[in-house]
Amino acid sequence: MTTTSTLSSMSSLASLSDVMPEPTVRSRGAHHLTTLPSMPEPLLVPQQRRVIGKLSRHDLLMMGGAGLSAISTTMLLFGRLTPLSGTFGFVAVAFVLYIVIYAVIASVTESRPTVVDKVMNVLLTSSAVVALFALATVIIFTIARGWQALKQANFYTDDLSSTGPLDPLEQGGISHAIVGTLIITFLSLVFTVPLAVVCAVFLNESKSRAAQLVRTVVTAMTALPSILAGLFVFVVWILVLEFQRSGLAASIAVSIMMLPIIIRSADVVLRLVPGNLREASSALGAPRWRTVWHVVLPTARSGIMTSVILGVARGVGETAPVLLTAGYAAAMNVDALKNPMVNLPLAAFELVRSPQPTQIARGFGAAATLMLLVLVLFSLARILGGRQAGHLSKRQAKRRLVQSCRDLDRMERRITVRGGAAT
């Protein structure tokens, strides 16, 4: 048995069978075999801790060498040997060559599982790089194309009512779309948030069959394509009830789309509230509504905020329902009850369909503004939702302490008053 040497060089699974010491088998009856491992001999070579994550100098050299040779080979292929061209083709060929060369170099010194591991590492890393690269191009491209419009101050203060497609970017802006976005989003928040939070509480507090049914239906409605929410409101509100196309109609459509999203994520957040907090509250004799109001909701507040903000981020960017229900307007409209109202995504959508470069720049400007808005909302959600249920920020902890002191004071005073009354 070469137990000692294999243990000290644990590098591959292949030698696993050697690691197991020879078992001593004692037979006790037909089906009872007890395996007693023999004591391993004391190790002669000190064991080294295996490093899984870090790159060694050897690895870096291999990667660098493979990269250099892949790029040079591709340049040779593209410039001299074959009539290949195109940036994308260059990157693709270089990438494939890199992987092949890297695998070949690695296989000189390493065992097969290690080579596979190294190649897979490269593939996993590059998939993340592709994803981030795509995101970066989306952000940079949108801002770059809209920059001509974005740098004008009037872009944020004017509307397009007196600006034609041929007018320069010094005239006109998207203030009407910004205001429209804010109004539609605000109205749909007013419609959804109270209902969604109370409904999520219902899903968590009630164990009845009705709650199960509501949960199933809400889950089903998260699958509703947003265009159908728009179509529903278009037919019911505008064709059947004969109201005008308006910001209100759009916010109803957006609410129908946002409601199941917020309910589901709030439901998940409420479920994360530690059970011992609820039980402690019940044990102190609080009725259920007090438990919910004073314990469950404050504990889950940051999570509920996060789910609301993420729901809003979805709602702000919705184009299709607004297209059907609010129409397109070029002029400022602050009355949500009548006349078309436009929001930023719809403005971007309509503006880029024009063949005029200035209109396209305005469209990209609107898209960039929208993206900025979503980014702000999103960062807000990260800041608010960064803490787990029950973990407080410094200021919150201080406030909680002050509240607690006041409670103690109040209780003591009450005891003295009662004690005074008794004696």
Partner: protein, 350 residues
């Protein structure tokens, strides 16, 4: 119900007293009851009402769609599923072409997004250094929050021009596969027009993949991060490499989440409207040539036609929407079934 259960458990837990004390009456179990005060009754009524309200709103949408769609469905009957034209005024309409187009766009989207989302999820949970992880998670979440119209603009103005090379290459070398063939294209000639490759299902699918990718990635990352540390370290302790650990422990553990996440992304891809409407040039024929110019989807059809339709045309659009909703519903429920059924899914929720 609870009270009787309580009694039963307390009875079995009762201490058996020695013989001499048997004559003393056994301690009777405390009856537990739950009766809310006025506040609790109000609370129950309020939450119950909200549940009912949500149920009725959601039910109203579903029932209304179904009721409105009935005239159109009654007129065409079964041929609604097999006709590919869309001319409701002449009574000739069906969703064969648009539904096929929707499915093709979604298929391209998932095929492009799945490897990237899986690789990214594994990179975040297994490969990336700790300091990078939270940044990456935030960036992927941000990607999910970018509005679809922004992706649509990106696809129309940036991607479309750069993707034609790939379309041409795929057509040239894999044109013998039925879905990569393009009518009227000559891939061998470098001077041939690029317009046969623009506004295609392929381009729209890649744009939709950008929206699908983060959704899939979030679900998969969630699942991979729940791999029991014991099994993970067990694999390492047996001398496994990192990829060995991923292959033997993480992937089998997360299988339900991978399938579920992929399908959740598919559900989103099926319903996407505005990016598809921006890119694709609508056509109504049964074609599986994804690289060819033109295509369609149910949601793009609704967004394009709702305004010019009369009552019956709207009913037809409702029927198409209903069919789309049925498909996304099936996909989403199958996804949650896969996730809930997997080992990792008991606590996760997606």
């Amino acid at each position: 119900m609870t009270a009787t259960q309580m009694t039963a458990t307390q009875m079995t837990a009762t201490t058996v007293l020695p013989q001499s004390q048997r004559d003393v009456a056994p301690p009777s179990a405390r009856t537990l009851y739950q009766r809310g005060g006025r506040g609790d009754r109000f609370f129950d009524a309020l939450t119950g009402t909200s549940g009912l309200l949500v149920l009725s709103i959601m039910g109203a949408v579903g029932v209304f769609l179904a009721v409105q769609a009935t005239p159109a469905l009654r007129k065409t009957g079964f041929s609604f599923l097999t006709t590919s034209e869309w001319q409701p005024d002449r009574g000739q309409f069906g969703i064969a072409a648009v539904l096929l187009g929707t499915v093709l766009i979604a298929a391209v989207a998932v095929a492009v997004a799945l490897p990237i989302s899986m690789g990214t999820a594994l990179f975040i949970t297994e490969v990336a250094p700790r300091w990078l992880r939270s940044t990456l998670v935030a960036l992927i979440d941000l990607m999910a929050a970018v509005p679809s119209v922004v992706y649509g603009l990106w696809g129309l103005f940036l991607l479309q021009g750069n993707i034609i090379g790939i379309s041409r290459w795929l057509n040239r070398w894999f044109g013998w596969l039925p879905f990569f063939s393009v009518e009227g294209a000559d891939p061998t000639s470098p001077l041939s027009s690029a317009s046969v490759y623009t506004a295609s299902t392929f381009v729209a699918g890649i744009v939709v993949a950008m929206m699908v990718m983060p959704i899939q990635c979030v679900v998969m990352r969630e699942v991979f991060s729940q791999v029991p540390p014991g099994e993970r370290e067990g694999a390492y302790a047996l001398g496994s490499t990192r990829w060995g650990m991923i292959r033997v422990v993480a992937l089998p553990f997360g299988r339900g989440g991978i399938i579920g996440g992929a399908m959740l992304g598919l559900g989103r891809a099926l319903g996407e409207t505005i990016a598809v409407l921006l890119i694709i040039s609508p056509r109504f024929d049964l074609s599986i040539h994804v690289l060819e110019a033109g295509g369609n989807s149910v949601s793009a059809l609704i967004a394009g036609r709702y305004n010019e339709s009369n009552g019956f045309g709207l009913s037809a659009l409702m029927a198409a929407g209903l069919a789309l909703f049925a498909v996304t519903l099936v996909v989403n429920f199958t996804a949650s079934w896969f996730i809930a059924r997997s080992r990792s899914g008991a606590s996760s929720d997606a």
